[in-house]
Assembly symmetry: C3
Homo-oligomer: 106 residues x 3
């Protein structure tokens, strides 16, 4: 696994997205997070195609902190099965990646 | 290749983005999709730097469904060479990834 | 490393995001770039959790051009430690990936 990850979740209100972002950074489970939205989420529900407004939170963290971050999102989120997906950061500015690592160290 | 992928395309109108998202989910080629926009796309065209408003569609699917999803986007899209790029999902909530797999099973 | 990459940076004004995108495409360091924003960036600063509006620039390029693109962002950007992170493109439309490669060739 790459040493650094971008981890995405979505939720149905901007203030919930802000709370997820702030609580993860406060606990050093992510160095930073970016919120965008509203986006339009399209999915199948009871056989119909539905679409809803959601807000995305993109956390930047280390592989070492991933399990704790995912557990925190799962506990804090009010969906039964929140989206939590991680994509690898395979290159980056050395200074920025060092900052990510330092911010998530305790 | 990772078992799950995030697949991105872009198009020039919000209703086209919604149609791409809904038709892929309807066919179980993706479990869900998120539309964001307008974004500003910057590219070179006939030697000049152009910028246009576009909408992005981010599909979440399995590696097993990728080829069918890409073929569907290519057929449905009205650009000659639509953007279709996939990034690996290398970690995620077990429950969410199981949902992705189940939604794209037939 | 994958042959193609999606490279992300963020900055604090839309015109700076546009300038970063246009200058990279102009120099063939990226085939295209998409700007979205404002997004809300959440991070720790002097012990407090801060949030600011930022704009994101997502460049699509080749692994062969990554080092030059990262150096260009670092020089052009007015932050001391700008975010520069790359995620691999592990699949995609053959025609689109060929276009990415051609646009970044000199």
């Amino acid at each position: 696994m790459a040493d650094h990850l971008a981890v995405l979740t979505t939720t149905d209100a901007e203030d919930k997205a802000r709370a997820l972002a702030a609580s993860a950074v406060e606990r050093r489970l992510a160095a930073c997070a970016q919120i965008d939205g509203p986006v339009t989420s399209v999915y199948r529900w009871e056989g119909r195609i539905e679409s809803d407004a959601e807000w995305r939170v993109l956390f930047k963290t280390t592989a070492a902190r991933y399990d704790e971050l995912a557990a925190h999102i799962d506990e804090t989120h009010d969906y039964d099965t929140p989206e939590i997906i991680a994509t690898p950061i395979t290159a980056g500015s050395d200074a920025y990646l060092a900052w990510l690592s330092a911010e998530t160290s305790r």
